[in-house]
Symmetry: none
């Protein structure tokens, strides 16, 4: 295996688990710890991960939850979330994706009379004690670093339900309008969510728009609506409008 390939795999492994120790990575990739350290140093210099004592953390590039003090885009992201929450009428049902974007939407749903369905453990925490909201948790394997549920149990649960709205996060929307994600394992769950929803709303701030990701989640045509910022890339927006997607600016 080429060094570059190995380094890509390190980044990928961190995306999947949120973090990794030097020893674990060395065993996983079949090289010595010294090599891993050199890789981590280099990748840290490139900004592709965060080096910490004992290993490295995934850098929050996609829609990765809980990299705490990321207050830079907080204001904009929150405006998108608030706009999304306004779309929903009392009495309707809402499915919330994993990630911080969906969590922000949940924060704007407090006190509303809604049915909320989620595989996002942070959303569960947020809405657990809100008596107005009928809360439904999808089953699944706990993915600690992302605070989410995944796997066939999650997909199976999604096959049992149907909701009015799905609010979807993303690691990026490609210039041709395709919705991407940074981790493969979530894709089947996201696809099952899309199939379980009447209307699919994608939430994407300007950093995701256009953006990239390794795994394709869906075609633009599968979306009903996209909520984004006014100064996001117009070309990508036009591409989406052409595909019949309603683009809402927040």
């Amino acid at each position: 295996m080429l060094p570059k390939q190995r380094q890509d795999q390190i980044v990928r492994a961190l995306r999947a688990d949120g973090a990794g120790g030097v020893k674990v990575l060395a065993r996983k990739l079949g090289v010595s710890e010294a090599t891993i350290r050199r890789d981590l140093e280099q990748l840290h210099a490139e900004g592709r991960l965060t080096r910490v004592y004992g290993g490295a953390l995934a850098v929050d590039g996609g829609d990765e939850p809980f990299a705490d003090v990321n207050a830079v885009h907080a204001e904009e992201k929150d405006r998108i979330a608030r706009r999304a929450a306004e779309l929903v009428t009392d009495g309707e049902s809402v499915l919330l994706d994993i990630g911080t974007t969906a969590l922000r939407v949940a924060q704007h749903l407090h006190g509303r009379s809604l049915t909320v369905v989620t595989s996002n453990l942070a959303v569960l925490e947020e809405l657990q004690y809100d008596e107005q909201i009928e809360l439904i948790v999808l089953g699944g394997f706990v993915r600690r670093s992302y605070r989410s549920l995944v796997g066939y149990l999650t997909e199976e649960s999604l096959r049992q339900i149907h909701v009015d709205w799905l609010f979807l996060g993303t690691s990026g929307v490609r210039p041709d309008g395709r919705v991407m994600d940074s981790t493969m394992i979530e894709v089947p769950v996201k696809r099952a969510m899309i199939n379980a929803a009447e209307r699919v709303v994608l939430l994407a701030d300007r950093t995701k728009f256009p953006g990239h990701g390794v795994a394709r989640v869906c075609e633009p045509g599968e979306l009903s609506m996209v909520v984004t910022e006014p100064d996001s890339d117009p070309a990508t927006r036009a591409q989406l409008t052409e595909a019949g997607v309603e683009v809402v600016l927040a």
Copy 2:
């Protein structure tokens, strides 16, 4: 687990509960109290939490009463839970019922290499950050007052799995050995749990033994084992033994 990860989880745990004691955090994260103190000191310096005597508070809503963090343990009930936890061998899978009894068992599973399946939200909170444990959450409607998941989604999820052990709580065991519950809505879930388990273990302190309940959960013959206290009613115990149930005294 990396030190940075552990510190993130401390902050997360505090956000969930509002506050946390040094002892509780140490057990939850599987490190010594000394390490937790050093983490708290560091996180306090970073302004990510507020250090108080005995533990720490989340930065936002720091007006939570801290008294219940040091709540006294019910030693007798805990003995039953510990005995139950000892039944399980590393590598096996465990299904935990709702209720405080099952939560107590979960507290004794920290650091074990197990697969834990549950619809108990308190168990989810307890084991969420334990890396050794593969944690699976059943789907379902959130029942706030009981901190549990119920409904057809839960039953459907249970049909997808099979576990080595089920630890069942109860409102009471009738003198003829029948297991009862105080609420109807949980019964279908409990029945589905029994069907999904290789061995069914009932946990019942002396107050439940004999005891009452409005809804019948199962016949004594469906149980593999009962863990109870030495001074619980001998007549009911005899009834159970006759039905082929192994009675363990803790």
